[in-house]
């Protein structure tokens, strides 16, 4: 998933209450039942990659996929829990071999039946190296992935040996290791089924994607707009309550906001940072700011000798205590972000693995303790920390400067911390992924699926895909492995939290704050809410 690069998403406590009223009621026969035939317009940004399920790793493309596709599981828009959608049952006895039965009666919007084969083919396509799918690693747990997607050289197989079609509605999955929460990951967009048309006429499909969700694509003008209409014979339980959605591409979220104010647009799902001050008076109750599965952290170059000393842990903890999160979220983000007290996100909920305060005193601002810790740890490596960030998107400069100010004040040294901007996101990423950074750098993480595992394993497991700082801990790895093998979800969560404590004790990365999704809408709309991925729940929106 693309990390949270937008500055404008943020939250306040009041907004949560508002959210509850805005999406409450459920709607059946409630106040204004809405015009089922009416179409609403919504702001959009041009997807970065071709719009294929296993190739879409950012919010804007994912938004479309979640409208036109339904997978085996669907994340509950309110609780984030993975619930059966196309899956009739997913059975396993050993957390490694799964038998999946697909519900009867589902079709794609072009009439083709959704079968076990639709899934197996789509997953094999997504995993295959020759198709360049950027989310291919989602299939890496499946046995035979290393044959279709080797780390070096060409692929030696076209299909994964772990996938087998049993009959029209049943297929089996064999994983290369135990992974008890595997079924819960199946709500992710990369796992949706694909119709034959996708392979037979690929260019045609990309021009006008066909899926099995509540909406069907009516027309798609790349770079300008996509018109989606309600699919009238949609077999699922979550049919659209409006006639359709027109996604309009905006080059600037300020313009989208202006259009909303002028009545030319119904919904913006990213209120620009500059408007946060007046959004309350502009929109009143038609503004929403709810927690999303996004956390911002400061990562460290553990590959760097200077940061890998015995005392460095104390230095990192000292830096963490030198950051006044409360003040920064209040002044820079207008209280629309929440100071982080663990390494996950509140959207997981208590049962899902979020543990408020897990970070403990290490995330509380205390200038004296910070100074002491840094001193005990042998001082700042090189006498100064440089926080690297990309200056092209988001308002990263603002908060990096604020964090540095806070650190400088706490340590009583004007030169203790400086920002180190890099021109573009791509350049920033290429430097951080190739371990070319010499100081802490900004790291944003937007969850792929609402699981604790997703907040920990990709970021802190030895050599994991997003472990850019190359942090490594045998104990952490062992605990994660155990948690993945644990079949009891509650015990697994407990185990993940133990692993998270290892992250804390080493301060592998400094948690900064949780980020929120925001939305504003016109008086025409009601029942607007955001799911844990900060995407509007389009099919629930009522018009008129």
């Amino acid at each position: 998933m693309r990390g949270a690069t937008h500055a404008g998403r943020a939250a306040c406590a009041v907004a949560v209450a508002l959210a509850a009223t805005a999406c409450g009621g459920g709607g059946d026969g409630g106040e204004g039942s809405g015009d089922v035939g009416a179409v609403l317009s919504s702001s959009w940004t041009d997807p970065q990659n071709p719009l294929e399920p296993a190739n879409t790793n950012e919010v804007q493309g994912g938004k479309v996929l979640s409208m036109i596709f339904r997978g085996l599981k669907q994340y509950n828009p309110k609780t984030g829990a993975a619930e059966d959608m196309l899956a009739e049952k997913i059975e396993t006895s050993d957390s490694r071999n799964y038998t999946i039965t697909v519900k009867d009666g589902w079709t794609f919007s072009n009439g083709e039946k959704v079968t076990a084969q639709s899934f197996v083919d789509a997953w094999n396509y997504g995993a295959s190296l020759k198709n360049n799918q950027k989310n291919a690693y989602f299939f890496s747990y499946i046995e035979g992935y290393d044959k279709v997607h080797p780390e070096k050289g060409g692929q030696s197989a076209d299909t994964m040996s772990g996938l087998k079609v049993v009959d029209e509605r049943t297929f089996t999955v064999r994983l290369s290791q135990k992974f008890s929460s595997f079924p819960d990951t199946l709500g992710y967009n990369a796992f949706v089924p694909l119709p034959r048309a996708f392979y037979d006429d690929h260019a045609g499909w990309l021009a006008k994607p066909v899926g099995n969700g509540p909406y069907a694509v009516e027309s798609y003008t790349k770079g300008s707009e996509m018109r989606l209409t309600k699919w009238d014979t949609y077999p699922g339980p979550d049919a659209a309550r409006n006639g359709g959605v027109t996604l309009k591409v905006y080059t600037d979220n300020n313009t989208a906001y202006t259009d909303l104010m002028a009545g030319n647009l119904d919904l913006v799902d990213d209120v620009p940072a500059q408007q946060l001050k007046n959004v309350r008076s502009d929109l009143g109750d038609r503004y929403l700011n709810t927690p999303a599965g996004i956390i911002q952290t400061l990562a460290f170059p553990h590959y760097d000798k200077e940061w890998n000393t015995a005392g460095a842990v104390k230095v990192r903890k000292g830096l963490s205590r030198a950051i006044d999160r409360e003040q920064i979220t209040a002044t820079i983000f207008h209280k629309t972000r929440t100071p982080a007290t663990d390494w996950t996100s509140p959207v997981l909920g208590k049962d899902g693995g979020y543990k408020a305060g897990l970070c403990g005193e290490w995330c509380r601002y205390d200038a004296a303790a910070a100074k002491k810790l840094v001193k005990e740890g042998g001082g700042l490596p090189g006498g100064q920390v440089k926080i690297t960030y990309n200056a092209d998107t988001g308002s990263h400069k603002l908060w990096v400067d604020a964090v540095c100010n806070s650190i400088n004040n706490a340590l009583g040294n004007d030169r203790a911390c400086v920002g180190n901007p890099i021109g573009t996101f791509a350049d920033f990423r290429s430097k951080s992924t190739t371990q070319k950074l010499s100081g802490p750098f900004r790291a944003g993480w937007q969850m792929d699926y609402p699981l604790t595992q997703n907040f920990l394993q990709p970021l802190y497991y030895t050599n994991a895909s997003s472990n850019d700082g190359k942090w490594s801990s045998e104990e952490f790895d062992r605990l994660v492995d155990e948690a993945n093998a644990e079949t009891d979800p509650a015990k697994a969560v407990e185990m993940f939290q133990k692993a998270e404590e290892v992250v804390r004790d080493n301060m592998a990365a400094i948690p900064l704050w949780y980020q929120n999704g925001s939305a504003g809408w016109s008086p025409r709309l009601s029942n607007v809410s955001l799911n844990p991925f900060s995407v509007p729940v389009y099919n629930e929106i009522k018009v008129g």
């Binding site: 998933m1 190296l129 780390e151 259009d259 002028a262 009545g263 573009t424 996101f425 350049d427 990709p458």
Partner: protein
């Protein structure tokens, strides 16, 4: 004249190659674009390598440039990261920006030159002082302030226009963005025309024309204006290229999906193919505009001859 044109066209070749090479190198210096494609998660090594190979990024820069230029001459500008042909992007973006530029240039010519002539003929009058002050204000206020302000007033407060331009971008919707885009240049055109007219007003040929008893409007349009237009035409000619490439701010404010938008996206996503392709076309536009301006000199002032 014919030989002059040929010579000028030949001179364009090295300029063209130099400009594209520079842009190519500059975009390449920005680093590895594939790194940004996978968001905050690292692309797995195999996929990244595969993508690099597909976009030709695994070859040395000089080779990439040669391949690229070779393709350009066959009309292939490569593929953007979202899978669209760059030529396809161009075919949607350039007509929109072209229309926007036409609107802007028309504003410059009609309003700018008219105001320039009016003030040039009435130097020191209140009209002159008023317009001078006004142009000073326009020049000193940045385009995005004018744009956002007009958008807010006309679009949201008074509801006269739509604040954003629809994807089709017809001429009618481009009037306000065109005016905003033209505003600064318009002020310069006014001032340039005014000075030029004021200078030439006392020229011998104007006095002769008046002495011959020609009607005033004829003296002004045929004698005075025609000779005073040379600096103005030079400015407007150079401005065409500038407006087409520099419309980024205006296009962003009014959500116009033109060249500025594509260039901005291209740079943000470090998409070499898009950036170099669009800049290549812009360089051509710029060169052609300059040529046309030079040729116009001879039309405006027959004393200027080309060997």
């Amino acid at each position: 004249m014919g030989r002059y044109v040929v010579r000028r066209l030949l001179q364009m070749v090295p300029v063209f190659i130099g400009a594209t090479l520079l842009i190519f190198l500059m975009v390449n210096v920005m680093g590895d674009p594939v790194a940004g494609l996978c968001g905050d998660r690292q692309c797995d090594a195999a996929t990244a390598a595969q993508l690099r190979k597909e976009f030709g990024l695994d070859q040395p820069v000089w080779q990439q440039y040669l391949t690229y230029m070779g393709n350009v001459f066959t009309g292939d500008f490569g593929t953007a990261f979202n899978g669209q042909e760059v030529t396809e992007l161009m075919s949607t973006a350039f007509p929109v920006t072209f229309r926007l530029t036409v609107v802007a240039i028309l504003f410059e010519i009609v309003i700018g030159i008219t105001l320039g002539v009016l003030t040039g003929l009435r130097r020191g009058h209140p009209v002159d002082t008023g317009v001078l002050l006004l142009t000073l204000v326009v020049i000193s206020v940045p385009t995005f302030v004018t744009g956002l302000l007009l958008q807010l007033l006309l679009g949201v407060e008074w509801g006269w226009i739509r604040p954003s331009v629809s994807p089709a971008a017809p001429f009618g919707e481009l009037l306000l963005p065109g005016l905003v885009l033209a505003s600064v240049s318009l002020a310069y055109v006014t001032r340039l025309t005014r000075t030029s007219i004021a200078e030439n007003r006392r020229a011998d040929y104007v006095r002769t024309a008046i002495a011959k008893g020609l009607p005033r409007h004829r003296v002004v349009t045929r004698h005075l204006l025609r000779n005073s237009l040379i600096p103005v035409v030079t400015f407007i000619g150079a401005d065409i290229g500038f407006l087409m490439g520099g419309a980024i701010v205006t296009e962003r404010i009014f959500n116009i999906h033109g060249v500025g938008y594509q260039l901005y996206q291209g740079i943000l996503r470090q998409n070499t193919q898009t950036v170099v392709g669009f800049v290549t076309v812009l360089v051509l536009v710029f060169l052609l505009c300059n040529l046309v301006v030079d040729l116009l000199y001879a039309v405006l002032d027959p004393r200027i001859r080309y060997a």
